[in-house]
Subunit: 381 residues, 2 copies
């Protein structure tokens, strides 16, 4: 009678209202009924993206939208800066190189944020650089990069700031129009509380200008074509109908909560998780610039992080994430984004406490939970 | 983005497999397809009831099955003993009196179990007594009555032992054939992990003999008619088709877990809850003969139990039960029956800790959770 708890940084939990909407009988996508849903959903997306720019919906995972920002805005030979502080920073560079762009890599130690001065130095030395590609929240290292600071560098240059907000939009404030983000990308299976299958992308006016001259090849991910169709309340190619039905319900939940409250909730859950880890004597992976989407925690000496993740999943029904590459076996990542609240954090912490005991590491049961509860109490009147 | 947690002693949580089965399109009940499901479900019910007797399914709540045991087995003027140690004991007496039976009430202090000697005394003084009516688990007081001991008194007398097992079947062992229970009643919204709407009743051979001469009026709840139809894999009146579809899935989960493991899980969750309450310095309502279905806990001095239940439900999304009648406002009842496991207990305890703090009662956060975790660890290899 084991129950399962999905507490990894995506896919995240899906609320009932979205599950039920996605279970509705299929309808055709070229109908007034679907167009109405699509229109309302597109407007709600602007609310959560905190932008007046169009937010395009692609039937793809987030990587599809990342790729579309390269192919729609640049030409082979264009120079870009890539902030490489984890698996997803690396991905920006890989996509760029695939399309023949010249990449200026900024290698950032895993667990730390990029120093905007490093970006500025390259921009000054290489005035031809056309784009800065970074994550807002680097999921693999649970780090937040200083997007507002970086935006100050690109704003008045002929350079686009392209932000992977896959685990940041709906988690932390990223008002793109106000800050000066030119491209903001996200995906359905994160704070949008949906199954994987939809990617979102919003472009600034400056980005749309780049699009006019970009020569990288694109067909399915043709953003100008998508924007043209969006104005007619539809998509260029067949949309993922049931996911969009579910998305509308999820966005309505965020609208009802209020986006500022949504951000505050994520901040609170993240602080509670960090407080719990610290109370248990565990070291944080990103103590100085932590993400509000997930918290990386070093496993104690003598404990195999891989075994811990496996024990939690197979014996306790609790799915969290481990570390990647050189952090494999050394960290765990507890996610707290999307359809999560107080008791999701308490489940994660209490499960980790119990699993550590089972794997032979001595912790005082309830200590982490108690520290988390103190923070979580802030969420109640 | 508040999530809700159903931790009251019924209705209880429903597993996904049952929810999905109940969402299937409606089929007609006089079909080979439904008969096959019905037959399999009836056999699985015998497994969970731990009996070779037929287990009848009624489209009714548990009270319907309680009423049917009176009307099918007794005649006006018959004498019965009623163990009245709570709201549901009282109900046995009310039904009996409604049908003109003469009731020998045994008033039992709320929070304690009946003393079999009290039953024996009445039986000895009144050899005409035809039935002893009791709860196995009295939900209103979270007490377990000593059914095996009582069965020893009725076994060799011309007296039926009629047991309300509504929050006991599937929670604690009640092998009716072995112990000598003559009638065992339960309901779908308890350990059977379903919505309300189905009641179950099994009769011993001795009970079926009483049925032959009983003259109380019955029509919808005519158990002989139901038994006749059960042999043909159907019901006398229209069955609750979708609930039975869901029931089959729920019973399969119990079969897969193994009924002994099901009982052990309930015992473990109950002990964890009691350990948590004790660690928090709270007094148990039924320390000496506690139920494994739910745990009654006195609220601390100065805390209004009604407010505590309301705060948990409205502010924290956690539904538990309060006290009834003279215990109103004085106790809370945390349920741990049905589709529940480790993290349901942890949610309940952590929520109570936090709510107590919010209502001004000083508890060391995490203390109850830690005590529960120590017991819950037994459930893992």
């Amino acid at each position: 009678m084991q129950k399962t708890y999905l507490l990894a940084p995506g896919p995240t939990q899906v609320p009932d209202s979205s599950l039920l909407a996605m279970a509705r009988p299929m309808i055709h996508h070229r109908t007034p009924e679907f167009s109405q849903t699509f229109k309302e959903t597109a407007e709600l997306l602007q609310y959560v993206f905190q932008t007046d720019n169009d937010v395009l919906m692609l039937a793809a995972s987030g990587t599809g939208a990342m790729e579309s920002s390269i192919t729609n805005l640049f030409s082979p030979g264009d120079e870009v800066i890539v902030v490489n502080g984890g698996k997803f920073g690396e991905r920006w560079g890989q996509i760029s190189e695939t399309y023949g762009l010249k990449v200026h890599w900024i290698k950032v130690e895993w667990g730390t944020a990029v120093d905007p001065a490093a970006i500025e130095a390259i921009l000054t030395e290489n005035p031809a650089v056309k784009g800065v590609l970074t994550q807002a929240s680097e999921t693999s290292t649970t780090v937040t990069h200083p997007i507002s600071e970086i935006a100050k560098l690109t704003k008045d240059r002929d350079t686009l700031l392209i932000v992977d907000g896959i685990t940041a939009v709906g988690v932390v404030p990223l008002p793109m129009d106000e800050i000066g983000i030119d491209v903001l990308v996200s995906g359905s299976q994160k704070a949008f509380m949906l199954p994987p299958g939809l990617a979102f992308i919003a472009l600034s006016g400056k980005a749309w200008k780049f699009q006019e001259t970009a020569t990288c090849p694109r067909y399915y991910f043709d953003l100008a074509k998508e924007r043209k169709n969006l104005k007619k309340d539809t998509t260029a190619y067949t949309p993922a109908v049931s996911l969009i039905n579910g998305l509308k319900e999820a966005l309505l939940l965020i609208k009802e909560e209020g986006i500022d409250n949504t951000h505050a909730r994520h901040d609170r859950l993240a602080r509670a998780t960090r407080a719990a880890a610290t109370a248990l004597g565990l070291k944080l992976l990103a103590p100085d610039s932590p993400s509000s989407a997930a918290t990386g925690i070093y496993v104690p000496e003598g404990v195999d992080g891989g075994k811990l993740v496996k024990y939690l999943r197979d014996s306790m029904g609790v799915t969290i994430a481990g570390g990647q590459d050189h952090l494999k076996g050394k960290i765990i990542r507890l996610a707290h984004l999307g359809y999560v609240n107080t008791f999701d954090v308490i489940i994660a912490i209490s499960a980790v406490e119990m699993a550590l005991v089972k794997l032979g590491h001595n912790v005082e049961l309830g200590t982490g939970v108690g520290a988390a509860q103190k923070v979580l109490l802030e969420g109640y009147e």
